[in-house]
Amino acid sequence: SRARTVFTNHWAVHIPGGPEEAETLAAKYGFANLGQIGGLEHHYHFHHSRVVRRSTFTTRGAHSFIHMDPKVDWAQQQVVKSRVKR
C-alpha cells in the first residue's frame, strides 16, 4: 500500500524579487523566513508556526494564498521523506 503523505509546516518558495521581497511576502502571509536554501538563488525556506507541524492533509488558510501571489514563481509545502540510515 502506498505510504501516506505527511505535510509539514515548512515551505520552499521561489521568489525572483530577492531577499527583501521574500521578507515582505513571508510577513504578508504569516511565515518566518529561514533564509535561502543552500546555494539555490531566489529559493527560500519559510516556516509557519501556526500550521500543524505534521499532518496528513494540507491545511487551508490565509497562508495558502502565497501559492497564488504574483510575486511568487513557485511554492511547495514540504512533505516528510522516509529516509533510512544504511
Binding site: 543552500g38 546555494g39 539555490l40 529559493h43 511547495q76 512533505v79 516528510v80 521523506k81 529516509r83 544504511r86
Partner: protein, 806 residues
C-alpha cells in the same frame, strides 16, 4: 596479498583494522585496497575537507577532535552550527560519528583507530534526526560548496524492496549546483552508500540518489570477496570496498558515540566513507581534479581482485564491470598515483533522444524490445558524445505490478546492463513515471549505434491477464566526451605510466602526522617493476592493468587513438584475427562475423535483423518481409500480405485488391459491405454505416450520408448532452459532448442552454446551486484577482456569491 608488518600505530584498535593492513605475521592477508601504500607515498588527506551528511558528529570525540572542522559542519535539524548528535539511551544517533571516524580519525594518538585520510579535516551535517524534506536535503547538499570537497552520505529511501524514490526538485538542483559551481568550479564530490536492501531483493536503481550521475555509488564486499547479505545490485555502482558480511565475518572498527570505539560497524554505510577517505587522498595528490575526473579515476583504478560474482564482464572499452561491485575493489595507491599525473578530462557533453510517444504493450512472459539508433549527436557540436561516461534511460511505464518487471539496456557494442531486476516485494501499480535509470557499464565505449531497451514482465503473483503493462515513452540520455578522455594525457599513460611498488624489505615510512614527514615523491620517470596483468605477453608491461601490456597473450583490443588493452576473447562486434592477435571490427551492425566484409556476418547486433538472402544486417526488413524477433532474422510474408508482423501469415498490410480483416488479407468488398469470414463473401453493413468491419451498428468505420458519428455509433441526430460539431480530419460530421453539468448546449465551452439537476445556469455555465457562507470582501478580492472563476477547477468556488456581492 601483502605483508605490512613494517608500520605500526599506537592506536589500540590498529591491529584489528584488517582491511587496512595485515596484523597476523604467520598468515598472508588481504590488503588490496592499498591504503598503506598510499600513505607511504605521503598522502594522508591533508588540506582536504570531508563532511558526513548524517545524524550528527561527536566533535569532542578524542579521535575526531583534532581533525574536526567547524566550517564543514552544520545542524540542519536544529538550524545552528553545532552538529553534536542528540543522545538517547539507544544511541540511535551514532551513525554519523562512526562514518566520520573511518574517514579522518587521528593517527597515533593512543585512541581507537586510524582514519583512511587521517590528516583530512572532517565535519558533520546533522540532518537525519528530524523530518527529512526536500528543503532539508537541498540545504545539506549545498553547505559551503566552495569549502567542503567531499560530501559522504550513507542513507537513502527505504531499502524495503518496494520503494522507488529519489531526490526532490530542490535536492536535484543542489546536486547540479554542486557539480557545476562547488570546489570553485571543479565540482563537489558526492559519495553515496549504494543500499542495504539485498535481503529484501531491493535494487539500487530504485534509489534516485545512488542512481544519480552526480553521486559516486559505493558497494561492499566481505573479507573473502563474497556478497554481503545487504548488498543491492545495480548498474550505477561504481566501486567497492571491504565492509562486513554474515555474523562470522569480521566487521569494521571505528569511532563510536560517547567517545568510544566499536568493532561491530556493518552495512553498506561502511563503504561510502572509506571511498570518501580514498578520494581525499587523491585530492591531496591533485587538488585540481574535477568531479568527473574522480569518477574516471575510480573506473580506471578499481579492480575485480578476488571479488566473487558470476556476472563479471569486459565491456567494449576493456573495463571489467559487475552489477554487484561496479568496476571492483578500490585501490588507494593506484588512485593517488593516477591522480598525481592526471590531466582533466574534456568537457562533458550530453546527447538525448526520445522514442516516439505511443503506447506499446508489454505482454507477460514475453520479451519486449524497443531499439533506437543514436548518432551520439554528432551533428551538434555542443552535444556530441563519442566516448561514453554515464548512460541514463528515462522511462514512462504503466504497469499493474511494478515488481514483476526486469529492464535491460544493450549498448551498440553489445554490453548488457540490467537496469532493473525483479523485486518480489514491490506490489505497486504506479509503474515508472519518468524514472531515470543509469548505467556505468558502457563507460569508455562508443556512443554511436543501436541501443536496445529490453523489458521482461514475468508475473510472480496472480494478475488480471487483461491488464497489460505499457511503455509509453523512453529517452536515452548519453553523457560523455566528443574526444577521447585520455588523449591529452596519452604520453603520461604510455610507458611512463607506472606504479611505484615498495621493494621487499624496504622500511615503510610513517607519513606526515608523525615526526620525519616525507614529501610525496615524483614518479614520472621511474620504471615499473611490479607484476603484469595475466593477459600481458612476454614483452612485459609498464603498469598493472591489461591496458599497460606491451604485447598480449591472446588478443589486443582497441587502437593507438583510443588505447589498447589485452583481452582473452574479443567482445561482440569483433572477430579474432589469430595471425595478428588482434580483435578486428566486424562490419557495421554485425554481432558475430568471420571477416570484415559486409556479407561475412553470422548474426546481428540488437535492433538489427539478419537478412538471410544477403548475409547482411539491416535496420528494418525489406517490404514483403517481417521481423522475426526471436531469431533476429527477416521472414518472407504470406503471398497476399504486403507487410507482416512476427509471422508470415500475421499481415499488417495487403497487396492491392485485398484488405485487412484482423491480421488476414481478404478480398476487398464494395462500400456498404464487408468481408464475412464465415460465409467467405461480401455481406451488407448496418444501414447507418458507409463502410464497416461487421454487421453491427457499432462496427461502422464511416457513417452513411445523413448520419453523424457519436461515441463509435452512427446516429441521425445528436443525443441530449451532445452538440453537432465539425470533425477534424474526417469527412463525416460528429456529435461532441457538452461541457460537464450541461444537459444541453449550443456548442463547445461555455454555451450551456440547460443544466443537470442541482445546477443553475449562470453566464451560460452550469454552477452548483449553493452559495458560500464565508465569501467576505478579502476572500472575493482574492478570487477575483486570481480569476478563479475563469478556471474550470475553481468554478464552483464561491463564484456566484462573489459575483453577487461584488
Amino acid at each position: 596479498h601483502a605483508r605490512s608488518d613494517h608500520i605500526h600505530f599506537n592506536d589500540p584498535k590498529w591491529s584489528n583494522m584488517w582491511y587496512t593492513h595485515c596484523s597476523d605475521k604467520n598468515n598472508r592477508c588481504r590488503t588490496e585496497m592499498n591504503i598503506l601504500a598510499a600513505w607511504q607515498r605521503g598522502y594522508t588527506g591533508r588540506n582536504v575537507v570531508v563532511t558526513i551528511l548524517d545524524d550528527g558528529i561527536e566533535r569532542s570525540h578524542p579521535d575526531l577532535a583534532q581533525n574536526y572542522d567547524q566550517l564543514a559542519s552544520y545542524d540542519v535539524n536544529g538550524n545552528d552550527y553545532d552538529p553534536t548528535p542528540r543522545y538517547d539511551s539507544s544511541n540511535e544517533n551514532k551513525h554519523g560519528t562512526r562514518c566520520a571516524g573511518e574517514v579522518a580519525a587521528a593517527a597515533n594518538n593512543s585512541h581507537c583507530i586510524v582514519g583512511i585520510a587521517y590528516n583530512a579535516r572532517i565535519g558533520g551535517v546533522r540532518m537525519l534526526d528530524g523530518d527529512v524534506t526536500d528543503v532539508v536535503e537541498a540545504k545539506s547538499l549545498g553547505i559551503r560548496p566552495d569549502y567542503i570537497d567531499i560530501y559522504s552520505a550513507s542513507w537513502g529511501p527505504d531499502d524495503d524492496g518496494k520503494t522507488v524514490d529519489g531526490p526532490g526538485p530542490l535536492a536535484k538542483q543542489a546536486f547540479e549546483l554542486g557539480i557545476k559551481k562547488g570546489r570553485k568550479g571543479l565540482g563537489s564530490i558526492f559519495v553515496w552508500a549504494s543500499g542495504n536492501g539485498g535481503r529484501q531483493s531491493d535494487h539500487c536503481s530504485c534509489d534516485g540518489y545512488t542512481n544519480s550521475i552526480y553521486t559516486i555509488s559505493v558497494s561492499s564486499t566481505t573479507e573473502n570477496g563474497n556478497k554481503p547479505w545487504y548488498l543491492e545490485v545495480c548498474t550505477s555502482t561504481l566501486a567497492t570496498t571491504y565492509s562486513s558480511g554474515e555474523f562470522y565475518d569480521r566487521k569494521i572498527v571505528t569511532t563510536d558515540l560517547r567517545q568510544r570505539c566499536t568493532d561491530g560497524h556493518t552495512g553498506t554505510s561502511v563503504s561510502a566513507p572509506m571511498v570518501a577517505g580514498v578520494i581525499a587522498l587523491a585530492l591531496e595528490a591533485n587538488p585540481l581534479i574535477t568531479w568527473r575526473d574522480v569518477q574516471h579515476l575510480l573506473v580506471k583504478t578499481s579492480r575485480p581482485a578476488h571479488l566473487k560474482a558470476n556476472d563479471w564482464k569486459t565491456n567494449a572499452a576493456g573495463h571489467k564491470v559487475s552489477h554487484m561491485y561496479g568496476f571492483g575493489l578500490i585501490d588507494a595507491e593506484a588512485m593517488v598515483v593516477e591522480a598525481k599525473r592526471w590531466r582533466n578530462v574534456p568537457a562533458q557533453h550530453t546527447c538525448s533522444k526520445s522514442s516516439e510517444r505511443r503506447t506499446q504493450y508489454i505482454r507477460a512472459d514475453q520479451k519486449f524490445n524497443s531499439s533506437m539508433i543514436s548518432t551520439g549527436c554528432s551533428e551538434q557540436s555542443g552535444h556530441h558524445v563519442m566516448f561514453l561516461e554515464h548512460v541514463q534511460v528515462r522511462v514512462l511505464i504503466v504497469h499493474p505490478r511494478r515488481g514483476d518487471l526486469e529492464i535491460n539496456l544493450i549498448s551498440p557494442s553489445g554490453t548488457r546492463s540490467q537496469l532493473l531486476a525483479q523485486r518480489l516485494l514491490d506490489n505497486s501499480n504506479e509503474g515508472f513515471r519518468n524514472w531515470e535509470f543509469m548505467t556505468v557499464h558502457c563507460w569508455g565505449e562508443r556512443a554511436e549505434g543501436t541501443w536496445t531497451l529490453e523489458i521482461t514482465d514475468s508475473p510472480t503473483q496472480k494478475r488480471n491477464p487483461e491488464v497489460l503493462g505499457k511503455l509509453k515513452e523512453w529517452t536515452l540520455i548519453l553523457h560523455g566526451t566528443s574526444e577521447h578522455p585520455y588523449q591529452s594525457q596519452s604520453s603520461l599513460h604510455s610507458r611512463s605510466r607506472m606504479l611505484e611498488i615498495p621493494t621487499a624489505g624496504r622500511e615503510m615510512k610513517i607519513p606526515d602526522s608523525l615526526p620525519g614527514v616525507t614529501e610525496p615523491e615524483e614518479e614520472e620517470e621511474e620504471e615499473y617493476n611490479g607484476s603484469c596483468h595475466q593477459e600481458c605477453g612476454d614483452q612485459g608491461c609498464d603498469g598493472p592493468d591489461a591496458d599497460h601490456c606491451l604485447n598480449c597473450v591472446h588478443f589486443s583490443l582497441g587502437n593507438l587513438k583510443t588505447g589498447r588493452t589485452c583481452v582473452s576473447h574479443c567482445p561482440l562486434g569483433y572477430f579474432e584475427d589469430g595471425d595478428a592477435r588482434r580483435c578486428r571490427r566486424c562490419s557495421r551492425g554485425c554481432e558475430n562475423c568471420v571477416g570484415r566484409g559486409a556479407n561475412e556476418c553470422r548474426s546481428c547486433r540488437r535492433g538489427l535483423y539478419f537478412n538471410l538472402e544477403e548475409n547482411s544486417c539491416v535496420e528494418s526488413c525489406p517490404t514483403g518481409h517481417c521481423h522475426d524477433e526471436g531469431q533476429r532474422q527477416c521472414l518472407k510474408c504470406h503471398e497476399n500480405c504486403l507487410k507482416c508482423l512476427r509471422d508470415a501469415d500475421r499481415c499488417t498490410a495487403c497487396h492491392s485488391g485485398f484488405s485487412l480483416a484482423g491480421m488476414t488479407c481478404v478480398p476487398e468488398c464494395a462500400n456498404g459491405t464487408y468481408f464475412n469470414l464465415e460465409e467467405i463473401k461480401c455481406s451488407l453493413c448496418h444501414v447507418s454505416c458507409s463502410t464497416c468491419t461487421g454487421p453491427g451498428m457499432e462496427e461502422c468505420i464511416q457513417c452513411a450520408t445523413d448520419f453523424l458519428q457519436q461515441e463509435w455509433r452512427c446516429v441521425r441526430t445528436c443525443s441530449p448532452g451532445y452538440y453537432r460539431g465539425e470533425s477534424t480530419g474526417y469527412s463525416q460530421r460528429m456529435c461532441r459532448k457538452c461541457e460537464e453539468n450541461c444537459l444541453s448546449c449550443q456548442g463547445p465551452g461555455t454555451s450551456c442552454t440547460q443544466c443537470k439537476d442541482g445546477y443553475n445556469l449562470f453566464s451560460r455555465t452550469c454552477i452548483m446551486n449553493t452559495t458560500c457562507n464565508n465569501a467576505d470582501e478579502v476572500f472575493c478580492e482574492m478570487v477575483k484577482s486570481n480569476r478563479l472563476c475563469e478556471k474550470k477547477l475553481f468554478r464552483q468556488f464561491c463564484c456566484r456569491t462573489c459575483l453577487m456581492t461584488a
